[in-house]
Symmetry: C2
Subunit: 234 residues, 2 copies
DNA sequence: CGAGCTGTGTGGTCTGACCATAGTAGCGCA
DNA sequence: TGCGCTACTATGGTCAGACCACACAGCTCG
């Protein structure tokens, strides 16, 4: 198949960037040479260079900004969850990745993370981040969209306590992938106030189990929490 | 930040494709209008359209082929694992996602999958696919690169028995992300023959546990299997 | 010293030309 | 009528160049 085996002009740029990242020649925060310079360096057109840059953007490796000065150009970033989340969202949209499988995979990662958080060397600062989110969600005047955003951050913060960046990334990307479904579900609930009350109670109990380093309880509670929400929602 | 909030010309194409996928207006196997037609439809340049197409390619949603006839143009595909794998690989290369976390996440997904395969309604055809891979790996003349490829397919096939497409996708993408490390590790082993023997023995025991629907045993064996390989390798 | 202007380098977009590819249709010959 | 060959067409891939908007950084003037 021509597409899968043909070498494209910009592949050399992609490979070069990957190797440079691997070797440490370029690092997080570094600024790549400008598109025109890369075009000259690789002996290809600027349009082709732009294709490579676009690929790297979609993969969450770089961001681009116009202008001049240190914030302009193509900067190395680290946004794996937005990259994975965007791709997953497309495949959920195309019905190739079923929503129920995403939910189940979320349960897998969150229960794993909370179990492992029990023995992980998280700091007081980390757990306090989660606590602040928990407390922010206790505001009963919060619109559901804000609550949902805080809810997402809360879950990500708890899961991050396990200390596995890949698992956190996947968890976050899955939330991103089904973000619209979550928002729709929240907005569709008959009485948001009642639902929010239940969610808050769940969150508190989950938080307390995590803080107490009771991994088994935390995992069970988060499973029930997700089951409860999606049982109502989908 | 201009990059994250600015609307680009081709965003409309991306949104349109996503919505069309969601609504079913376009489906797996469908052929999108040509770049020139899309440019006219959206009132933007062909170069901008190409950026949207490129994004969709990186996300594993479409593939592009030159020529004419039914196989040419931009065809809707479903390659979530290559998209996720490619992105993960970049982030592993940039050292933002640690290899050890990928390995641990792999253990998480594979043990989960094998546990759940015990109660899943997989078919004889599915398990036979795995069996054929198992038997193919028993060929002692197999070069390590071929063995590694079959090994990967074997693990993916077993994990797919759980019936969760998202988990399978993630598993496959993680294998893809660290594929070069696996190949390097295999090539670096002192005596490949001895290692292959051990791997084969592990594979057989894992397969038998899965076939017998002993989820707990299968999960334990696959954990030990991965630990053993990476304990030696990294 | 501060404000405003100019210049420069950056990515974003557009236009148009050309190339390679993969069919498909039409024509000619056996 | 069937097969082979040629020409045409639509497609994505690449290139070159022009222009735009933006974000500084440096310089000049009050």
């Amino acid at each position: 198949m021509s597409e899968s085996t043909a070498t494209r002009a910009y592949d050399a740029v992609l490979r070069h960037v990957e190797e440079s990242l691997r070797s440490g020649a370029i690092k997080l925060g570094d600024r790549l040479p400008g598109e025109r310079a890369l075009a000259e360096q690789f002996g290809i057109s600027r349009a082709s260079v732009r294709h490579a840059i676009r690929s790297l953007e979609v993969m969450g490796v770089v961001r681009s900004a116009t202008g001049s000065g240190p914030n302009s150009g193509t900067i190395v970033v680290s946004n794996p969850s937005s990259a994975l989340g965007g791709a997953l969202r497309m495949h959920v949209a195309s019905h190739q990745l079923p929503l129920k499988d995403v939910v189940e995979a979320r349960i897998m990662t969150e229960t794993w993370a909370l179990e492992h958080a029990a023995a992980a060397p998280w700091t007081l600062e980390q757990i306090d981040d989660a606590r602040r989110l928990l407390e922010a969600m206790d505001d009963e005047g919060l619109p559901s969209e804000i609550f949902t955003l805080l809810d997402s951050q809360f879950h990500v913060a708890l899961s991050a306590l396990a200390g596995n960046v890949v698992v956190s990334t996947m968890m976050e990307s899955m939330r991103e992938a089904i973000r619209d479904y979550i928002s729709d579900a929240a907005a569709r609930q008959g009485s948001w106030e009642e639902v929010a009350q239940v969610l808050r109670a769940h969150h508190h109990r989950i938080f307390e189990a995590v803080e107490a380093r009771d991994g088994a309880l935390a995992a069970r509670l988060v499973r029930e929490h997700i089951d409860w929400f999606y049982g109502r929602a989908v």
